[in-house]
């Protein structure tokens, strides 16, 4: 029993709780502890990756109950990878939050941040279907808090939509779980897989319904068309670093689809085909809507949001194949689109801080800043999947993995045509924002201080007799820019080391598509449990 498995959940949870308990009034302490916690989380995640790289699947039986009666945490390659990706992303974006001063525009940024990490990591690690729901809710409710951080009418309105839509999604989640429990009599994912495999063929209607409803739940999280409506306004109105962190949120949905429909409902069981037939068209539409949105929107923030939708489309095309090769591509693309999407949101936030708004207008040029422009173009190239960055490689992998399918012509056509739309849209946006005016000298970066311009709300009292310590002008644009740089460095590394990464992804995919080790780890050899 390796206790480190629970660390990605307990560490942020305790960190969040301690921040509330002892440092709720001291931003500096919060920053120190929060970043230390995230860094520690990254360390743990890397260690978990090292553990998982052996190919073994680790089980952590909470409460020492035997599976399937208690809840289990499962560590395999995919889970470890996702946790590491989350931690790495959070670390970089957190630096941006410091640098941009976003974390002092409202209350409890760091506590909510830690709880958000707890939710995301918990969702990746759990081996229990209902527990997945619980951790979805944790990450969601923390995201509600983060999403409206800083306030403002539009953001709150978008927040209402976000939360209302996801409430409906949670309701659906419970419905799906209810159906699955009513059929299989279990909640443990591995046990459910074993039972689904033994399901009589003459009574599959309910099981199919449960499987499809569950897929729709994950599709909401992943924002697949036509369940994507919540995303554009939410992401466009969320604070920059929060939107950047949300880059991992859609991936939670994708992860869950990958997990459930390779482990519990693989293609060769009684519910054969039930998901594939829905997923691919949805993915194609998602890609199209996202990429068209890049061109069709009039706001840079929404542009980034549509780019996120588009990336989910590409990703889900790969996922919907459920072949090891396509899953390899999907895993590579998950890493890429998380980093690229986050970087885009951060750059957009920098532009917004600089320019005051994010409208794509002819007269809306920002005072020249070569650095931001360069960051934008680099990110945009990565996002639309042009060389030399990982987006291109990811796209090649997806195209390569789908070429033998009967729908290849649709897939290729959609990917390539929408790429062109995205390229045009992105170049149009970039040239509208950066190219209109011609400044002979750059405005120094130090003048770009989004938070300093608008002091955050610092109330006098938190609770009775508690005074708040104000850090004053705590923004550091250079730190913010380096955070984006870090993400871009990640993208470059992903490009340069595409070989090793795809090898790792291929191993991961192989492990996913052969769940026997996973099942054995949970259900067999339960010595020492109650």
């Amino acid at each position: 029993m390796n206790h480190i498995l629970i660390a990605p959940v307990v560490l942020p949870a305790v960190m969040g709780a301690l921040i509330i308990l002892w440092m709720r009034a001291d931003l500096l302490l919060q920053r120190v502890f929060s970043i230390a916690g995230t860094a520690l989380l990254l360390g743990v995640a890397l260690y978990l990756n090292w553990m998982a790289s052996s190919g073994e699947v680790y089980v952590y039986r909470l409460g020492n109950w035997a599976a399937p009666f208690g809840i289990v945490l499962m560590l395999d390659r995919l889970a470890a990878l996702m946790v590491a990706l989350t931690a790495a992303l959070a670390l970089a974006v957190q630096l941006y939050a410091f640098g941009s001063g976003w974390d002092r525009k409202g209350w409890h940024f760091h506590a909510l941040w830690q709880f958000q990490l707890m939710g995301v990591c918990g969702a990746f690690l759990t081996g229990d279907a209902f527990n997945l729901f619980v951790f979805f809710e944790i990450l969601l409710i923390a995201s509600y808090g983060l999403m409206i951080h800083g306030g403002g009418p539009m953001r709150l309105r978008a927040g209402v939509q976000y939360i209302a839509y996801n409430l409906a999604g949670s309701t659906l989640f419970l419905a799906a779980l209810g159906v699955l429990y009513a059929v299989t009599g279990t909640l443990n994912m591995a046990d459910m897989a074993a039972r689904v495999a033994m399901m009589p063929a003459e009574d599959t209607a309910l099981l199919r319904t449960g499987a499809v409803l569950l897929m729709l739940v994950f599709a909401i999280k992943a924002s697949l068309v036509p369940l994507h409506f919540w995303l554009p306004s939410t992401y466009a109105n969320a604070p920059g670093p929060v939107a950047a962190l949300f880059a991992i949120m859609t991936k939670v949905g994708v992860y869950a689809i990958l997990r459930f429909y390779t482990l519990v409902f693989p293609q060769d069981t009684v519910i054969e085909g039930v998901v594939m037939e829905l997923l691919l068209p949805a993915a194609l539409f998602t890609l199209a809507i996202g990429q068209i949105g890049i061109l069709g929107t009039r706001n840079l923030g929404r542009l980034a949001a549509f780019a996120a939708i588009g990336s989910v489309g590409t990703l889900m095309i790969a996922v919907s194949q459920f072949t090891p090769q396509a899953t390899t591509a999907a895993i590579y693309y998950i890493i890429h689109s998380t980093l690229a999407g986050a970087a885009l949101f951060l750059v957009v936030d920098m532009i917004g801080a600089r320019r005051g708004d994010l409208w794509l207008r002819l007269d809306g040029v920002m005072p020249g800043n070569g650095l931001i422009a360069a960051l934008f173009f680099a990110t945009a190239i990565a996002v639309v999947g042009m060389p030399p960055f990982s987006g291109f490689i990811g796209k090649l992998l997806v195209l390569d993995a789908t070429r033998d399918t009967p729908q290849a012509i649709w897939i290729w056509g959609t990917i390539l045509v929408t790429s062109l739309i995205a390229i045009y849209g992105m170049s149009r946006a970039g040239s509208l924002v950066f190219w209109k005016a011609y400044e002979f000298q750059d405005v120094p970066l130090a003048k770009m201080s989004p938070a300093a311009a608008r002091p955050g709300p610092i109330p006098t009292k938190l609770e009775p007799d508690e005074h708040i310590q104000d850090l004053g002008d705590a923004a550091s644009p250079a730190l913010a820019a380096s955070a984006v740089g870090l993400l871009l460095a990640g993208i470059v590394a992903l490009t340069v080391f595409a070989g090793p990464v795809t090898r790792f992804a291929a191993d991961t995919a192989a492990q996913l598509h052969d769940p026997s080790i996973y099942l054995g780890a949970v259900l067999d050899n339960q010595e020492g449990t109650k």
């Binding site: 029993m1 206790h3 307990v10 709780a17 921040i19 308990l21 709720r24 909470l62 409460g63 020492n64 009666f69 809840i71 525009k105 409202g106 209350w107 409890h108 809710e137 923390a142 951080h149 306030g151 209302a164 409906a168 209810g178 009513a182 299989t184 009599g185 009574d203 209607a205 309910l206 199919r208 319904t209 499809v212 897929m215 409506f229 009684v270 519910i271 809507i289 068209i292 949105g293 069709g296 390899t328 173009f377 060389p387 090649l396 045509v417 790429s419 062109l420 390229i423 045009y424 849209g425 170049s427 040239s431 005016a437 011609y438 610092i458 109330p459 609770e463 009775p464 070989g499 291929a506």
Partner: protein, 947 residues
Amino acid sequence: MSPALIAALPFVGALLPGLLIRSGRDVAAMSCAAATFVALLGLCLHIPEVMAGEVVTARFDWLPSLGLNASFRIDGLGLLFGILILGIGLLIIAYARFYLSRHDPVGVFYTYLMLFQGAMMGIVLSDNILLLLIFWELTSLSSFLLIGYWKHLPEGRQGARMALTVTGLGGLAMIAGMLILGHIVGSYEIGDILNAREAIQASPLYLPALLLILLGAFTKSAQFPFHFWLPHAMAAPTPVSAYLHSATMVKAGLFLMARLWPVLSGTPEWFYIVATTGLITMVLAALIGMFRDDLKSLLAFSTVSHLGLITMLLGFGTEAAAVAAVFHIINHATFKAALFMTAGIIDHEAGTRSIARLGGLRKLMPITFVIGTIAALSMAGIPPLNGFISKEMMLEEATHTVWQGNAHLISVMATIGAVFSVCYSLRFIWHVFFGPERDDYPHKPHDPDFGLWFSPALLVVLVVLIGLAPQFFAGWLVEASAAAVTGAHPHPHLALWHGVNTALLLSLAATVGGVLLLVLHPRLLALRNALWRPDAKAIFDATTLSALQLAHRVTERFSNGSMARAFAAFCLTVILCGFWAFLSGNYAGAVRPMLPIQPIPLIGWVLLMVATGCMVAFHRIRLLALVLVAIIGLIVSGCFVYLSAPDLALTQISVEVVTVILLLLALNFLPKRTILESRDGKRGFDAFIATLTGLGFGALSYVVMRSDFAMPSIANYMLETSYKLGGGHNVVNVILVDFRGYDTFGEITVLGIAALAIFALTETLLAGASGRRLRNWVHEERRAGARHPLLLVVITRLILPITLVVGVYIFLRGHNLPGGGFVAGLIVSIALVSQYMASGFGWAQERNRVPYHAMIGAGVTCAAVTGLGAWFAGYPFLTSTFGYVELPGLEKFELASAMGFDLGVFLCVVGAVMLALNSLSRIARQAGETVNAEPMDINPSLFKGDR
């Protein structure tokens, strides 16, 4: 030097200007030149090997699983293009140093230029078509940056976007084409592909691959009908035009056709597509070029025309034609780069590029005149210059080529193209340099400094030298590259004079015709202006604009911010997918017997139906809606009691009351009624969707209740072991704090986070615009005086402690009877709420000593620490233990570690509910609520004596 290093050097060079720009423009230029020179040197060192027929390769594994590797090769073709790119690049770097003004950000320029150079070198040295694709797209990107370099020019922005879009389109097509090609061959290595001619041409995928690859090549090389972007790219600074749009980038398409010539050519498809496109492009672009007024535009169309010429030659598919093509690539690069630089000099010195405003520069700019004239004559194909030789070769090949059985079509068309070409070339000379001197030039023209004319002069020298001694100066290069293109070993004999043959006669005719056209030019111009002609840019603009509008409309349709639309899509999706999933499976039918319907549940059902109906009917009266919520909650709890779920009933009813209280607090500031806004149709549609969803979900639940578990539920184990291993009689509670304590841990975290989010939001609101709005708040409703009624206050003084006792009881007994930390927490919260309702939040809060934040933090920590405690016993997180303790004098009682966990739950619940109430109360106080000094409005015991 390794081919990889040669390809990498320009990229290294791209970094230098950025790093060295503070040292000045010269250093930046020098550093780039140095990098280019070293690369050129390295390339030239390979000449002997290549001449010997070897292929120099270098290979690094990058993404072997995909077949994408960093493999490079130097063969004759790569050598030819490499020399062109680096050689002309060197000249351009020097030229640009003098061309750009001191206001232009030179560092950026050189960075872009070197990026581009590197990308080009990558294309020509790649030994892997996927790698080639990467460099291919990089040229599109860097050219985008270079065209848009002068950001203040709108034509720069548009031209850049147009170039990126068109070449991007081709690039994407090429991705598909290359992937198909690699699929046919089983490898993306060019070495492998070049050996797979039979397999490729036999494949059913040959034609798609060919079309897609050619689409890439044609767009890049501006072939008809994609020729329109190149002239608009002329918004770039002239050095860029000279480099990208004459000598290098546009030749990437040609390069690709040449590169794949051994495996793709020789089929009718190849011939008809490539040769025809080249022919049309050649003639059409030359015709357009004849009438251009802008010097650079004229040169741009001439470039398109010449690219068409080369394409046509490659399309012929014969070795001799390929040799001619390769040779013309060299020649065109030399004279066209020189011409562009000349045009740039004229623009730079005279202040205009408009032919209409020029003329008579012969005396004012003699050096420029000489350079420009020689280069233009070469372009016209006048002997003894190099352009003449390759044009002769082209005409020669054209006469040998049969198109759809017609032996003369191509030669006639080619000659006509040559006529136009002679015309615009001579026009360049005649209308710019000859004629009378004018007095209305924007600047007084004079020859530039050496730095500016040196580069074109050098190129013109090459033009002459190659023309005079082609075999000596270019023969070896042509031979080597033609060998690479054709895969054979042709030994071309390049000579100025081939004797009198058909080609010479055609050439002569073309020259005469060109002179004639020049004479007639004014009249032709008038004629042409009178004719309708398609404006490619207008078409492109209209296309992109309508694409933009279409995209906007689509985007609006799929995200117009309407929540109802989002929900409707959600419901329909769920219902349709759910039905589909159910109907496509096998349904075994209802198996479980139903419970009989008793009268009291029936009455409950009626109550629920009516209350829900009222909810829909009356929801716009918001307070009433809240009363109905409470009724529905009451009935649902009753249902839980009836169906053997006492814990659920407790939780449901207490959660419901706290919810209602929160809603009431919020409603205080919200409008008290919902306005009727939706039209009947919309309401009807909503009702339809709602009914559909309700039917679906109701049916699903019916089917579920009538079905049996397919396999025994895990709950049986829990019932068996709850007491034995969990130490509790209340199985639900044991599940909550033990079997699934981890869920509960998550659940209280959710609650805590909710309170934090609410608190944070409140603070933000109070500090912002809402705070100001609240300070001037006027309540809509008339308010009564009964703020803290005596009766309520006094009774609450009893209720509060009694309820707390009940809370303690529920907390302690939860493990064995209905109850537990959560319900206890809610009961205590309710007790506190009753106190707050009686005497006011402000008054009560002042008497509270526990910060709610701390309660939440302590709750989560307490639960976590209880869970972690198990570590010390070597057990996993949340492993609980229990025992029976006997204190002297008291009876035995149970102590379970899960109680510590339950305590965390309790603290978290109380903290969260109270923090939420606190937030709402703060909003109310901001809106002018006062804090009462006394716990009750009227305390008669304080009034002494009679009134």
